[in-house]
Assembly symmetry: C2
């Protein structure tokens, strides 16, 4: 459909976990544009399409970003976070932290980085706020479409710690925010359902706090 | 897969446009929970799962929200916006505005409202910011999963104009932001690909401004 292979929607939704260990194998520009096209199908108030996607495959640019990304990661990966990763490496938190640490140490070698940039509101009541409600649904489309092609992604914002330097290097103009960096490539690990609480625990009925243990037949 | 019907991923991505004209037919609680479960499969940094979904089907609560939603819409739908809808009703902007106007005038009658609430960051460098990067990918999963069941959705934030009153009515605690209202139901209109510019126009290669007219074979 739409020039894409067939892939089950729910399989994509239920198995698109963050894939942070990526093979260095290149990704074709055709596939890169297909996943960006899927992103642009995301909802966009007033059809503003306030997004731009910068695809980086150049080795030097990736190294420039990687240096700053790793620095930002090291600022975060200290104290308690590091202790969990080292003392409880197989716990759910330990596994996430080790995988994030792997990404930070190897991000220069991912085949593709996609930087997701978005405009800011100009309405008086929310002026200056980036249109995150437009870019993040688009990003989810991108990650799901990539999944259908067997491409792994994760969504990070750590590069924003050194956003000024990275935006200067990439030439991002001041009226855009560079809110997400998506490393993309063929994954080393296997697709899996993310560990989530039962949906009923995240659901309230009519009013906050009203939860139910089982779904009524209706 | 995962207790869901089969549905093509790319068909979902390419045809999940905002469906603002909804039939009053009820939606089963089973389906409501399935689409919320799909939402919770969205990415969540550190697996925080910082979201709660309030499902509103009660007529009085819907009427309370609808009154405020329509008031917020009328504050927006004046001057230039109204002129476009009236003078150029078949233009792309005119169609969006008329459909949004329809929703505002009929929102009390949608079968289900889903309010999407999310926690705020506590890290010093972004303290107080709602975790929009977690809730909006989840919301996109919700809308796509709904599409697979033939359920139409749209994403609105207009209720936030009267967020304090609505949050008090729903009992949303102060540590959560109620960032999106999703009216959901069986659509009156037909599914369609949203009008978007070609993906290549939203894509830059290596650096801002570097666009290409055709994709190289590689």
């Amino acid at each position: 459909m739409f020039g894409n292979p067939e892939f089950d929607l729910y399989e994509a939704i239920y198995t698109t976990r963050a894939m942070r260990r990526l093979k260095p194998d290149p990704v074709s520009p055709q596939l890169i544009v297909k996943v960006i096209e899927a992103a642009t199908m995301g909802p966009s108030g007033g059809n503003r399409q306030p997004w731009k996607f910068i695809v980086v495959r150049d080795r030097e640019t990736k190294a420039f970003v990687a240096e700053r990304y790793l620095k930002a990661w090291k600022m975060y990966f200290t104290g308690k976070a590091r202790a969990i990763a080292e003392n409880d490496p197989q716990s759910p938190q330990g596994r996430i932290l080790r995988s994030a640490n792997y990404l930070a140490e190897h991000i220069a070698d991912v085949p593709v980085m996609i930087f997701c940039c978005v405009k800011r509101y100009t309405d008086p009541w929310r002026a200056g706020q980036p249109m995150l409600n437009a870019i993040f649904p688009a990003i989810q489309n991108l990650c799901l479409a990539a999944r259908g092609y067997g491409l792994g992604t994760s969504i990070t914002g750590l590069h924003m710690r050194f956003g000024a330097e990275i935006n200067e290097r990439l030439g991002v103009p001041p009226e855009y925010d560079n809110v997400a960096l998506i490393p993309m490539g063929y994954p080393k690990g296997r697709w899996d359902r993310p560990a989530r609480k039962p949906a009923l625990e995240a659901t309230f009925w009519e009013k906050w706090g009203n939860s139910i243990a089982t779904i009524p037949e209706e």
